[in-house]
Symmetry: C2
Subunit: 362 residues, 2 copies
């Protein structure tokens, strides 16, 4: 069965031209945000603050629950989902419930991550737990995960066949489980030094890349892509997800505080074992390795210690080695975009997204 | 369309007699546990401890992840699901994935609840977070919630129609959201005294009763019950869930430590605003109300304070008032069992369960 026939059979719309029409990313993200927001409401006054905390985290409410438009993140994952849907020849309007679910589930993991990392600020604002306490923070995340499923089930109202929705639900929770597996490894790394760069890449494969992979795959499946094509899109998502995290690790050490919104060398201050640190530890001589371990063993990292670690990183050429890693992932992503036969304006937009992500400063 | 025809159309088995066969509760729970356990495994050695922590919480592994059979809870919710399926004329074997999902989701909420309540022990064993830290505890709960969905999707392999599985998935996450709403209210109660018994019952309607209601409804739907009959089963579940929690509140103050496994008057020591305390506060004179508030305002509740509160509770006849509440719920449950036309050995077993739950000591 060809894709057009498969799409028709699964109840998905078939565009007359078989190609994506012009892709308006801003309009697409606005539609995803409207879909998310519709799920974060209640008629019960006693429960209003619970949903207010969720809207606060997403940048749509102040801590007093008044409407606002603060920075709620880049919405990269839903954008990838909609672009992959369009680039596979589908109508992204039908993928909006999936895109909304993906952004909600990503944010549920952030709400919990902030508690696990003891982070008091995110996107220049206080974190949920730091305002309302860890108990409510855990609960806000749990509720947002439940709501993400309700958002995904919105596919039922958009013509997707029941079996396809079930496949997408299965992939959705398998993805969250991979994120939890990555998070489990990441927390474990805090007390270990016997971590290789490969261990680290396996960890971010779950913690960061799995949701990008799902976003790309879900978009393709909702466009009626067959298994092989959906797999190519999924591998594309994995590649950009890995590149995204390694670039993030670079910015966590060498990023400009005025642009990232984080303190300078924030990851070193917070003794995070990001890829640059693991590469340094793996390749450094005994003296440097001991110096690094001793900085990370101290209860608080002094400014002089931060400078020492950066000097070691620079001497070992870690910045450039990491950026080369980012570019390898993005080269792979471009090849997979080709293999997935991504086409039309959305295909071109995905190509542009790869380049922007590899060079992003925030 | 009658139920038999509906069951046939939805792909569910129709028993030749149209009635439940003998119900072996022990065998049913063993089958649910086997289904749960099958989901709590991994082939990746690096990830084994994550699944080990989940099995530990459920009583199937020691803290070193060696197999054991410890107390993992009463498995009441999956039992209700399977009994309701059989009592509505279905084959409970087909509801096992739903029953496993229900017990997994219940336990995910317990893992998080222990962190939120700062509880170091449950069922005579240390809690997950108290062994592996709050960060891993949050992650274990998140992963278990993801796995609960995978368990529920196991219905696909047992002949349930895709649309019915989607309905059950929608109800599943709506239930978790109700649990989160209840948890939000419960946490908020900690810092308030303007709570009425009605506020409290609304809170436990979410936190405790919603999952019993879902268990009963899911069992009935999987037996092919129509909406009206499934609603009656659901209201039955709500009634036993409310009764369960109020009985729990009684045991949290007057329970026998040797039987409950908790300290004597544990809820007062832990300054929990359970129903007896709220009823006392609502009906007490100004002097007693102030005495109660002052005990709950102290950082630690002294043994003499516990005795003072129990004396006030006994003088106000709160124990008996609460037990009457339990019995009202269970009388309502019995009427709803009748309304739902629960029949056969499983219907009788549900009647017996009501009586045991109203009088339980642990």
């Amino acid at each position: 069965m060809n894709e057009r026939a498969a799409r028709k059979e699964s109840g998905m719309p078939v565009q007359p031209s078989g190609r994506a029409t012009d892709f308006d990313a801003n309009a697409a993200i606005a539609a995803v945000e409207a879909e998310m927001l519709a799920h974060l409401q209640t008629d019960a006054p006693a429960l209003a603050p619970l949903y207010g905390m969720m809207r606060y985290h997403l940048g749509w409410a102040t801590a007093a629950f008044a409407p606002e438009r603060a920075n709620g993140g880049k919405r990269l994952r839903p954008l990838v989902c909609l672009l992959c849907c369009a680039a596979a020849g589908g109508d992204p309007a039908y993928a909006i419930p999936a895109a909304a679910a993906i952004e909600l589930v990503h944010n549920f993991t952030l709400v919990h991550d902030d508690i696990q990392d003891n982070s008091a600020s995110r996107r220049h604002r206080r974190t949920v737990w730091s305002i309302w306490g860890a108990a409510q923070g855990i609960n806000v995340g749990d509720g947002m995960y439940a709501i993400a499923h309700q958002a995904l089930l919105g596919l039922r109202g958009r013509g997707a066949a029941a079996e396809k929705v079930l496949d997408l639900m299965a992939g959705f929770d398998a993805t969250v489980l991979r994120i939890c597996e990555g998070q489990f490894l990441d927390i474990g790394f805090e007390s270990r030094w016997d971590i290789t760069a490969d261990d680290y890449l396996a960890m971010i494969g779950g913690k960061t890349a799995a949701i990008f992979a799902y976003a790309a795959r879900a978009g393709a499946l909702l466009a009626g892509a067959d298994e092989a094509r959906a797999d190519a899109f999924e591998r594309f998502g994995t590649a950009i997800g890995l590149g995204f995290q390694v670039r993030d690790d670079l910015l966590g050490i060498w990023g400009d505080p005025a642009v990232t919104g984080k303190d300078a060398a924030d990851d070193i201050r917070r003794r995070k074992k990001s890829l640059p640190i693991i590469m340094l530890h793996e390749h450094a001589g005994e003296k440097d390795r001991h110096a690094l371990e001793s900085v990370y063993a101290s209860a608080e990292v002094a400014p002089g210690d931060v400078a020492t670690v950066i000097t070691m990183l620079d001497a070992a050429g870690i910045h450039d080695a990491c950026q080369e890693q980012v570019e390898r992932y993005h080269t792979r992503a471009a090849a997979l975009l080709n293999e997935s036969r991504a086409s039309g304006p959305a295909g071109a937009a995905l190509g542009g997204l790869i380049e922007r992500m590899a060079a992003r400063d925030a």
